[in-house]
């Protein structure tokens, strides 16, 4: 009997230790509604503006946000209206369960008088959702005259893990313009220097040949040279085949363009199409098919560039005249369309370019970088990095600005905003740095990156916040 008792005891013990607790420690934090940006401004041409409000998480239930506003020289019905319609300085906007943002529209009925300012200030009053809080951008300043943004958030539309787009961001107007990476090949400088840049975002490379007659070059002449004229060959001297990564025009791979008869023919590696394969989580698939090779020769005719180009084995060549268009810093040409294409915004209308980039690792030569950020050197934009160990982003003020730290290099941000990763570790956001950016108009911003990846771990989803100092 006793034996069986012990046996029973044993079995009970077995069952007891077989259980396991399943404790949950859900973190409850309040539901927050805020203006996406603290400021907005109308250009003279714009007739309406959509104002976006964002949530800290998807809305747990239906509800309403109550917003109040006050105007300066702005009267509802005369100078502006809103959609939904508002009454006596209050505006109610509905929240739908499960949504993560909402918006309302301000319609401008007339432009302010010259020299007069017209503005509205919106304030979040309350939200009907249980356990909610108002914090962050609870106030929005809307100017009916063009004014630089006081700050905001921008998610550059790089386009995901294939990073198909080069995105040009303008901080003061809070706008972005994008161009597909492989939509252009050569950029012809429109300033006084006669320089031509390669499209480093698709890993192009070029080498001068000892020839001045483009038709005399055949594939056999360059076959030995071809393996070296590429990015990422781990040859310290291959930087000669790509543009200087600092962005200086003196460092272009193609020598200064002249009218000389002795202008050399160049072998041109057209790099890679934008990748199409699905990248693994947290990783990128930058390159697709190789785009092949060309031979080119560029000369000047007055202030126009003359571009001769042909396939390697062709005995005849095409020729196109490219004039300097003073509106933009570069005039872009594509071998795909054999035409001039639009890529960059107008001069001075962009500050930062999110792009894939041909950089160099000293001692190892050129090296391809995803998630790169270039500041507009031609437009006088400069940047430098600050470590949060020295000063926090929140505490940084204009008094902390040190102009001497700005360098004459387009890589003021570069890849410094992320950790590089390696075998077994993927790149990740650097959370202990932020950047100071000074644009061509002298506006100084502090800028902090908030994401490298989407919530779903997809690369090519950068976003950042910035504040005007």
């Amino acid at each position: 009997m006793r034996k069986n008792l012990y046996f029973l005891f044993f079995i009970t013990g077995l069952l007891l230790t077989g259980c396991s607790s399943d404790d949950s420690n859900e973190i409850t934090q309040p539901f927050v509604v805020a203006f996406e940006n603290p400021s907005a401004s109308f250009t003279t041409e714009e007739a309406s503006k959509t104002i976006k409000l964002v949530f800290s998480e998807s809305a747990p239930e239906d509800g309403t946000v109550f917003i109040t506003y006050t105007g300066e020289n702005a009267v509802y019905g005369e100078d502006f209206t809103t959609d939904p319609v508002s009454e006596e300085g209050t505006l109610n906007v509905a929240i739908t369960k499960g949504s993560s943002a909402l918006s309302f529209t301000i319609n401008k009925l007339q432009n302010p008088m010259e020299g007069e300012s017209m503005s509205l200030t919106f304030n979040l009053e309350s939200v009907t959702i249980e356990n909610s809080s108002l914090q962050g951008n609870t106030e929005l300043a809307v100017s009916f005259t063009e004014a630089p943004a006081t700050g905001g958030v921008i998610a550059a539309e790089v386009g995901g893990a294939n990073e198909p787009n080069q995105v040009y961001v303008d901080l003061s107007s809070q706008t972005q313009v994008s161009a597909q990476r492989d939509s252009w090949d050569l950029g012809f400088y429109t300033g006084t220097n006669n320089r031509v840049i390669l499209n480093g975002s698709i890993y192009m490379a070029t080498a001068a040949l000892d020839a001045t007659d483009i038709d005399a070059i055949s594939a056999a002449d360059v076959s030995e040279l071809q393996p070296a004229v590429a990015v990422g060959t781990f040859d310290a001297t291959n930087t000669a085949y790509v543009d200087s990564p600092d962005g200086s025009l003196e460092g272009t791979a193609l020598a200064e363009i002249t009218a000389s008869e002795d202008s050399k023919v160049y072998l041109l590696n057209l790099g890679y199409e934008v990748g199409t394969e699905t990248a693994e989580a947290g990783s990128v698939e930058i390159t697709g098919e190789h785009r092949g090779w060309k031979k080119i020769r560029i000369t000047m005719s007055g202030s126009d560039y003359i571009l001769q180009y042909a396939d390697l084995d062709a005995t005849e060549h095409e020729e196109i005249t490219i004039s300097k268009d003073e509106l933009t810093d570069f005039t872009f040409f594509s071998f795909n369309t054999e035409e001039i294409v639009e890529v960059q915004p107008e001069k001075g209308k962009w500050d930062l370019n999110f792009t894939v980039f041909t950089n160099e690792i000293p001692g190892y030569g050129s090296y391809g970088y995803a998630d790169f950020i270039v500041n507009n050197l031609q437009g006088g934009v400069h940047a430098y990095m600050v470590s949060t160990e020295d000063l926090s982003y929140e505490d940084y003020t204009i008094a902390d600005l040190d102009e001497t730290l700005f360098i004459e290099d387009q890589r003021g941000i570069g890849s410094n905003w992320r950790n590089g990763g390696g075998p077994g570790t993927l790149p990740s956001l650097k959370e202990n740095v932020f950047f100071i950016v000074k644009d061509g108009d002298g506006n100084v911003y502090k800028l902090r990156f908030t994401a490298l990846l989407s919530e779903s771990n997809e690369r090519g989803n950068p976003s950042f916040e910035y504040h005007k100092l």
Partner: protein, 707 residues
């Protein structure tokens, strides 16, 4: 919640129950001779074996209370267990060669895992509950065990008989993980039941069910719900939950012996990412942290049918037919920590091996005891699968069938009692590689004064793995490729063992000394090499040579109730790295010591034991950049460390209850500093290696119900 005290409480309560008991009984003395089967033409005693077979007995397994094969092998000389914190697996390293060169067998046939058949075994997945003993043979055993048996093999022999009609053994084992323990949520919790039954004189059946739950070792990490990106999310040792179910039906008669064995194994390993994406929303000034986690789920099925016996007086046969599979699935998902919400959930097969295996041994052709002839075959057709997540492969996945069709023979000649010699050979035919040949020559000589000398020469090829064959990692900055034209590596080993048993018939003192020397040479070793300078490209090639030699000396003393063992091993390794521009093939030496002590007090029905192993500093040549940026070769060092385990086992209640209390890794080893690893292109060389999770205490309670 860290409470090693609750384990203590449990112990005290159990001791107080047992204190009321008084009955005393003498333990049965096991007088059976140690019999080994590994590599033998017929099962025979250790002394008669031409091979040198090391045996870990059931008694040792029980005293160590190791919960898997990794715990047990860690105490063996020349063996190191290398845990992988990223995958949760633990592989063996024998003579410095990793798990790809070492085969794990159960009842003489290789056991499958998700990366191979026999080799690449994760030792933590091998449960010890139905095991009779473990046999270890060092050296290349290609003739007996085929490809990949280069550094050695371990053969696990399961129980196939019971003394009583019914033997029912439930047990529980509770372990702390370092100082982490909680009844439900922290520590290691094992529950097991084994049932053995003699159905009749000829039929025996048993079943074992074991659950082994390891809740992970956190150390300075803060678990899965930690929501800051400070590197502290997750675990240092991954949580692992295992379930084993095994069944065996054995039929023994004069004419035929047969058994059918079934095994089911199931494991869940959770990998919680330490990188937290904070997803800071500047507008609302809130975070909504997300992470990407992976839950691995492995299952293994093994069917093994064995038939053996004499055939019409002409010969003896021993045939095994087996179908085995192990599959590792993965569930990947993204997780919002604050709301505990999974999204982007995807489940798919990560890696698997499955297939048919058969081995046949035919012996006793010649009736003259001077001669022994063995003929055999070993065939397998294993389908393998590897997803792109498990490695960098071109396309979506790798799927291939590897067929191996081997025949082997060996011949033993024993002109007298003193001397025997046994040459052997195996031809290995494969669906994927050129035919290979493995050879062996073993001999044994007994001198007049009981001194035994064994010389064992053997060869074995090592087949290339998926990473070496199919890797494809090519982008703008990298070009690393596998090589489908790789050929197997060639291992050759020479072992000499000198053994001297000393028996003092007057007293109860017994001594045994063993001196071993060996040399192992692996040629055509596969390494990643630069095949093109501009652009830089890497590919796997058969290029390098690995050599190791060493000496070991082992002493066992048996005196009354004391058993003491001490061993020392001194090993040198030389690597010829033709794959590198710079290398140094000087021999680098390492020292290992091990010692164990068992002392039993029959009156108290107690056995105390301690196991100690010292692993001396290990050296390896590593490349460094000097001040002038030149690559230089320096001797890197991994610091020494020691394992110390101890336990007390006490029998209570008429030997019905067995209580084992012990401590593993008493010296609290977790990480060991090293400068002996090369860094990668993007990474600094790690400054330490993870070897253990620190000191842990365990309590095992086993109940013997014999009817």
């Amino acid at each position: 919640m860290k409470q090693p005290t609750s384990l203590l409480l449990l112990l005290i309560s159990i001791l107080s129950i047992s204190a009321q008991e008084k009955s005393i009984d003498t333990t049965k003395i096991n007088t059976l001779k140690e019999v080994v089967v590994t590599g033998q033409i017929n099962p025979q005693s250790v002394e008669r074996s031409v091979f040198e077979v090391k045996v870990i007995s059931r008694k040792d397994i029980d005293l160590q209370a190791g919960n898997n094969l990794a715990d047990l092998l860690n105490q063996q000389l020349n063996i190191n267990i290398i845990p992988n914190a990223t995958t949760g697996k633990s592989g063996v390293q024998l003579f410095g060669l990793d798990a790809r060169y070492f085969k794990v067998l159960i009842d003489n046939i290789p056991v499958i895992n998700d990366e191979g058949l026999g080799n690449q075994t994760d030792l933590t997945q091998i449960n010890l509950d139905d095991i009779e003993r473990i046999e270890i043979v060092e050296g290349s055993m290609g003739v007996q065990y085929g490809a990949d048996a280069v550094s050695g093999i371990v053969n696990i022999i399961t129980k196939k008989s019971a003394e009583d009609n019914w033997e029912i053994r439930p047990y529980v084992q509770e372990e702390t993980i370092n100082d982490e323990y909680g009844f439900f949520d922290q520590g290691r919790h094992i529950q097991s039941v084994s049932i053995a039954h003699n159905i009749n004189k000829e039929l025996y059946a048993n079943g074992v069910f074991t659950r082994n739950q390891f809740t992970g070792y956190s150390g300075d990490k803060l678990g899965e719900n930690h929501n800051l990106n400070d590197g502290k999310r997750g675990y240092i040792w991954l949580p692992k939950d295992q379930f084993h179910a095994k069944a065996l039906l054995n039929y023994s008669s004069e004419k035929i012996n047969s058994f059918y064995k079934f095994e089911y194994f199931d494991e869940t390993v959770s990998r919680y990412d330490s990188v937290v994406r904070m997803n800071y929303n500047p507008s609302t000034q809130t975070n909504n942290p997300t992470v990407s986690d992976e839950i691995f789920h492995s299952t293994r099925f093994v069917h093994h049918l064995n038939l053996n016996g004499p055939l019409a007086g002409l010969l003896n046969y021993d045939i095994s037919i087996s179908y085995q599979q192990q599959k590792r699935d993965v569930e990947t998902y993204n997780y919002r920590i604050n709301s505990e919400e999974k999204f982007d959930v995807a489940s798919f097969e990560y890696e698997s091996r499955k297939g048919f295996y058969s081995k046949g041994n035919f012996t006793n052709f010649i009736k003259d005891p001077k001669y022994g002839l063995q003929l055999g075959y070993e065939i397998s057709e294993i389908n393998g699968y590897a997803s792109t997540l498990s490695g960098d492969y071109q396309g979506d996945y790798i799927s291939r069938m590897l067929g191996s069709y081997d025949v082997f023979t060996s011949f033993e000649y024993s002109p007298g009692k003193r001397f025997s010699i046994r040459p052997g050979g195996r031809a290995l035919f494969s669906s994927n590689f050129n035919p290979q040949l493995a050879l062996s020559l073993s001999s044994k000589y007994s001198f007049a004064n009981d001194l035994e000398l064994r010389t064992v020469i053997g060869t074995a090829p090592r087949l290339p793995g998926y990473d070496e064959l199919y890797t494809y990692f090519v982008d703008i900055n990298h070009d690393v490729r596998g090589n489908e034209n790789l050929q197997p590596e060639q291992g050759v080993s020479l072992f000499m063992h000198l053994k001297k048993p000393l028996k003092f018939t007057e007293g109860s003192l017994r001594l045994q000394n063993k001196l071993s020397a060996w040399y192992i040479d692996v040629r055509d070793r596969i390494e990643l090499i630069i095949v093109n300078e501009t652009p830089l490209a890497y590919q796997y090639r058969n290029i390098d040579t690995y050599r190791t030699w060493g000496l070991s000396y082992n002493n066992s003393v048996y005196y009354k109730n004391l058993r003491f063992n001490a061993g020392i091993s001194y090993t040198g390794v030389s690597k010829v790295l033709n794959s590198d521009e710079n290398y140094d093939d000087d021999y680098l030496y390492a020292l290992q010591l091990n010692s164990s002590i068992n002392y039993s007090i029959p009156a108290w029905k107690m056995v105390w034991s301690a196991y100690f192993k010292y692993n001396g500093p290990q050296y390896q040549f590593v490349q460094k950049q000097d001040n002038d940026n030149n690559t230089i070769i320096v001797r890197g060092k991994q610091d020494s460390y020691s394992w110390l385990d101890t336990s007390i086992k006490k029998s209570l209640l008429d030997n019905k209850l067995e209580l084992t209390l012990g401590a593993r890794n008493l010296l609290d080893i977790t990480r060991v500093n090293t400068t002996a690893t090369n860094g990668g292109a993007h990474t600094e060389a790690p400054s330490n290696v993870l070897l253990g999770y620190g000191r842990s205490y365990f309590l095992k309670l086993l109940y013997n119900l014999n009817i």
